[in-house]
Amino acid sequence: MSQLSGLEIRGLRVSFDGFTAVDGVDLDVAPGDLRFLIGPNGAGKTTLVDAVTGLVKAQGSVLFGGAELLGRSVHRIARSGIGRTFQTATVFEGLTVLQNLDIAAGAGRGMLTMLRRRKGVPEPVARALETVGLTDLAHSPAGTLAHGQKQWLEIGMLLVQDVRLLLLDEPVAGMSHDERQATGELLEHISEERTVVVIEHDMDFMRSFARSVSVLHAGRVLSEGTVAEVQADPRVQEVYLGHAAAGDAALGSAGPTLPDEPEPSGGTASGRTGAAVQEV
């Protein structure tokens, strides 16, 4: 594993036609951190990740391992060691689990390797299969996986991609309690070698696994610190009270995982328009 790298965001600003989704965020994620980003709907969490990964244009500065990311294209940012998942699990449904992982592992492959058939299972892929527990399903089409399994496959893809920073958007949404536990442990394990940032609404999950927490509100960082520090911050309580009737409940328990703001859908589009956009 290559050396750990941290993320350093300064003055990040993203706006869409006059609406400012991220409004001057400063954020530092230490190398090897397991950072949770929380915040009410519309706080700008996903947009922040979009900006870091090059999906939306942004002003400011994002340094990863000392290198500026803004202005680079999506695939170059990915190659520099940053991987992400989406709210809706996005895997290649027509391909098998193995093929999904093999593609994720292969961005650096040469022309000749690409034009040959895949023989056997590459070692990193086998390891990732093991890590995310999908070895038995290696030859199943990804489209037939259960929801949670797709999320794991996505994480597995980031592992074989060998990224140094994982940006995970609600990785445990829709998972059972046991699955959440397993995913959390997996993330802890991963963060030993990589930096992990998780967007999450599930407060139980956050409390169990977060090493540090940033609270976003209205496009700004509201509070930052350990779980306990953040929970004690009166501003955080106020924000959550202002947005959900049962404020403490939202923070204190699993709470209803409300649908987040409309997402730049990298994944399965819900409506026809979405599907069209995918193709167009």
């Binding site: 030859h139 199943s140 089409p141 489209g143 037939t144």
Partner: protein, 434 residues
């Protein structure tokens, strides 16, 4: 194959996973289907099965008491608007001949094929008619492009094509009889007529294909030699229906007359625009070489009244032969259906072929060709004579004016049939053309 248990009962999963095995099997299934296609194609080849498939010139099949001829016209696509009427006219002639005893005692059996307004398709269908249907002769084609596409097919197989449409000349295929006008029987007389009226300048408008471009080359050579000015030359893509700019350009040129070689659909749009621009037959007459009665009907005399056309035949051409032809055509296809020059030339071509065959006492193309010189027929356009050397026919040139009733009234004719001169060898000014 399906020994794996999940292939049997797990619905969606098996649906997907079983997708793999059949895929490899599909290659075999594919080969089997390919064989089936081959077999089917073979079924289509029934008429050819008897003969040795490798002999060069497919001999026409004249063994029974019928003789097959091919009708090769576009029945679909953009050219169908014109070519369907030619097919109808050919059928009329064949019916008449059959009713009067056929050719050499044999009834003519027409085999119709659709050229689909697509030149390679014309070539394919021509080969099919010759090789599969063993036709004694083929009648049809309209555009020069379709004729150029089938020309090698007829030459290669030594089979005859009768081509019924006025064309750009500069061609003498030994296996094509040209029963429409060549340039010296239509364009040159039209220019002579304009000159005699004292028109000093002309504007050329045409569709972007071979006939207009070649015709305009000839027109420019003629104009240069006869002190006429060509003030402009515009081509619209075939099928183009937007003519406002061309109408503006024509109007701005203030030419004495317009020479129009537009084809088909474009004429409708052109004349509607022409009238909208305030141009009239009085202020700036248009001489058209592709507008016959059928086109007048679809454009409307509202837009065309007074404009000029150059042809060898009009529905109003006097004579008993024409009266009979028009009457028979309307009886068969409807009183509102007009007859036109290409239809007449097509009708005449069947009778000319009959006369040649009877003179040669054979359906053999070589003998028919040899017998062709001097064959005459009392055609609706007047008596026509075949020139055996060029395989064109002597035709009378006629200038007509379109009336408000949609009929074309003859205003001038060449007096006698003009000898065909496809390469314009008899005209000094045309020496540099080919």
């Amino acid at each position: 194959m399906s020994s794996q248990p999940e292939g049997v009962h797990l619905s969606s999963e098996s649906y997907r996973s079983s997708g793999f095995r059949p895929q490899r099997r599909r290659v075999i299934a594919g080969a089997a289907a390919l064989a089936a296609v081959v077999a089917l194609t073979a079924c289509g080849a029934k008429t050819d099965a008897a003969g040795g498939s490798s002999d060069q010139a497919a001999k026409a099949d004249t063994s029974g008491d019928t003789v097959r001829v091919g009708l090769l016209n576009s029945l679909s696509g953009t050219m169908a608007i014109s070519e369907v009427t030619v097919r109808d006219s050919l059928r009329l002639a064949i019916e008449e001949i059959n009713a009067s005893g056929g050719v050499l005692g044999k009834q003519i059996k027409p085999v119709s094929e659709d050229g689909a307004s697509d030149w390679p398709t014309f070539a394919e269908k021509a080969a099919k008619l010759i090789k599969e249907d063993r036709v004694a002769a083929t009648f049809g084609c309209w555009t020069s492009a379709s004729r150029k596409a089938v020309k090698p097919v007829f030459e290669k197989n030594k089979s005859l094509l009768f081509y019924p449409v006025q064309y750009e000349g500069l061609e003498e295929s030994p296996y094509i009889f040209y029963t429409g006008a060549t340039t010296n029987q239509q364009i040159v007389p039209a220019l002579d007529y304009l000159k005699s009226r004292g028109e000093k300048s002309i504007y050329l408008v045409g569709s972007d294909y071979v006939f207009p471009r070649t015709a305009n080359k000839i027109i420019k050579a003629y104009a240069k030699a006869n002190g006429m000015k060509v003030l402009g030359e515009d081509y619209a893509p075939l099928g183009s229906t937007e003519f406002s700019t061309i109408a503006n350009k024509v109007k701005a040129s203030k030419a004495d007359a317009v020479f129009n070689t537009l084809n088909g659909d474009s004429n409708v749009a052109f004349f509607k625009e022409y009238k909208s621009a305030g141009l009239t037959a009085r202020s700036m007459p248009v001489v058209s070489v592709s507008i016959a009665e059928e086109e007048v009907k679809s454009i409307g005399s509202q837009y065309l009244a007074g404009q000029l056309t150059a042809w060898n035949y009009y529905q109003t051409t006097p004579g008993a032969a024409n009266t009979k032809f028009v009457k028979a055509y309307k009886a068969k296809y409807g009183q509102d259906k007009p007859t036109s020059d290409p239809m007449e030339a097509a009708y005449t071509s069947v009778y000319l072929w009959k006369a040649m065959v009877e003179k040669a006492k054979s359906f053999d193309p070589e003998k028919v060709k040899a017998a062709s010189d001097g064959i005459t027929f009392d055609a609706p356009e007047g008596t026509v004579t075949v020139d055996g050397a060029s395989q064109h026919i002597h035709k009378t040139a006629r200038i007509g004016r379109i009336g408000t009733d949609g009929l074309i009234e003859q205003v001038w004719d060449s007096g006698e049939p003009i000898e065909p001169d496809p390469f314009l060898k008899g005209y000094d000014w045309a020496s540099g053309l080919s």
